[in-house]
């Protein structure tokens, strides 16, 4: 393409493997947010593996509203349930919903974005108009409407959040495909007689990965926030405590038990902040054009 794109071209030179290994340089300087994420995953695994926490998170204890102590790190709630074990299960729920919903968005978004960007023409116009519509639609309100109409089990919540998040991914994928499809190596593959599918999946997609990885982290964090908001309204899956559901339960006891509200919220804040910071760092690392400008 034009000369203006050369710096971009340098970024994409090298095999997909090199790109991937380069993208892991973030490990060197993004300690805090990675540590936070790993710690949360460890906490949720710990809760599953260590006997006292292994049991039913909904099991009621004898002491209600016990403040945080050595026996109950985060106190107990109105029904005497251990807040820490619920917190840990909540971590698992939030991360699970976040990652699976983001994966759903990415699968739909990448597929549609690739089709639009590669084929262009009428398909592109229609798909992008639909994406635009989905971006304008108030996601939270639609999710709320859908879940209250169709019921609130975990799978449906994941699917709903995933279905509402694809336009961002589709737009990014499309943009990448629009530029990459004109590159020499793609033209070479095309004139070499490779099938369209092979070109899309083995030539273009690997090179479009860097911005997609960033988009994926952002999808996870916004899915976690969306799930928390829905559960806070009581639309979550009641049998699987999530951080949002815990905050919903805490609302009526704000005066009596601050710990019921404080810990789950800190969990959401740290996870989402870690993902956002991580995504920002990835953008810097994966986009060498911005590198060296001093952050």
């Amino acid at each position: 393409m034009s000369i203006g794109n050369t710096d971009n071209g340098v970024a994409r030179r090298g095999s997909p493997l090199q790109t991937l290994s380069a993208s892991f340089t973030f490990l060197r300087f993004d300690g805090p947010s990675l540590t936070a994420l790993i710690a949360l995953i460890a906490v949720s695994l710990f809760a599953l593996a260590v006997p006292p926490f292994l049991g039913d998170v909904n099991a009621m204890g004898s002491v209600s509203f016990a403040s945080p102590s050595l026996t109950h790190f985060m106190g107990t709630d109105d029904l005497g349930r251990d807040v820490f074990s619920r917190f840990a299960h909540g971590a698992r729920m939030s991360l699970l919903v976040g990652v699976l919903a983001a994966l759903t968005s990415c699968i739909i978004g990448v597929t549609l974005g690739a089709i639009a960007g590669y084929l262009q023409g009428a398909v592109d116009i229609i798909l992008m108009r639909v994406a635009e519509l989905f971006q304008v639609i108030p996601r939270f309100f639609l999710a709320l409407l859908m879940i209250s109409l169709f019921g609130s089990n975990v799978a449906f919540i994941i699917l709903t959040i995933g279905l509402l998040g694809w336009p961002e991914v589709a737009r990014i994928t499309r943009g990448e495909f629009l530029t990459l499809r004109e590159r020499e190596y793609v033209q070479a593959a095309r004139s070499g007689g490779q099938s369209t599918r092979a070109i899309i999946f083995s030539e273009i997609l690997p090179n479009a990965m860097p911005p997609l990885i960033v988009a994926m982290t952002m999808q996870v964090s916004s899915a976690i926030l969306l799930e928390a908001g829905l559960s806070f309204l009581g639309l979550g899956d009641a049998s699987n405590p999530s951080w949002g559901l815990m905050l919903n339960e805490a609302q009526q006891f704000l005066t009596r038990a601050w710990w019921m509200a404080v810990f789950p919220g800190i969990g959401i804040l740290i996870t989402v902040a870690a993902l956002n910071v991580f995504g920002d760092h990835l953008t810097d690392v994966l986009n060498p054009r911005l590198r060296g400008r001093g952050r």
Partner: protein, 325 residues
Amino acid sequence: MSALATLRFIGLKILSAIPMLIGVITVNFILVHLAPGDPISVLVGETAPTQEQMAELAAKLGLDQPLYVQYWEYLTSVLQGDLGYSYVMQANVSDLILARVPSTLVLMLTSLLIFTVLGVGLAILVARKPRSMFDRVGSFVAVVGYSVPAFWLAQIALVVFALNLRWFPTSGMTSSRHAYEGWAYVGDVLLHLILPASVLGLRYLAINFRYARASMRDALSQDYITTARAKGLSEGRVLLHAFRNGILPIITVFGLNFTDILAGTVLTEIVFGWPGLGRLMYDAMYSRDYPLLMGMFVFVSIGIIITNLIIDIVYSIFDPRVRLK
């Protein structure tokens, strides 16, 4: 010519908003028909409407008609401003919604104005000095503001500032014990406004700081800034140069974030018992008042479409290049 081009652009933008509007209404229509049970039982929910109301609803939905006729009827009635009837509240959905809009707007706009100015101001302040103390503090606050669930922050603010310190009232928009009038009334509302507006504002501050900072730094690295400095302009004038070019992207970013901001407002309202759309939505959800929930969805969507339309138009006025696309 230029005025004509602007008008043409605005006209095209308005035209392109119409398919969006139809899209939103279509989503609603599909949901009613996909929902478990027939549309009538979905719409009346757990209420027991009178015979007349049932007959009226059946006639309005035209369930004996083919689907495309039903769709056309629904589309045209919504486009004429009829959002349906709430059987739970025994009132027109549009009346119920419009009654709550002012309180939500008071909360949103106050917070938006104050914290946008703060966020952009802070970004301009630090744009020339990256890695300074202010920059680090600002960036930290921005990450927190961007990541924190507004409703949780609302709960914590409520516990600390209203329940423990007793600086602010815990809920509502006015005191229930006194009926203030005139300026005292305004003061009363303002006192109730401080906590929810600040909680919401942290997100505006974060979004604006984040983007204004990036945008200002980008603008400051352009050649015309070097030229301006070389000409010997004061740093204040240089910043003004950068500001005029750096501020535009922020408007678009706001449009993109508007839906999340609305969700945050609604949830914050619920925590603080603010008598706006959030509270209405919460009640509608619990009483399974689907006509009201659907009406709110259409209403909020229209609000977002119009906001984006205004943003596009404002943008084109400030940056004529947009019109050429």
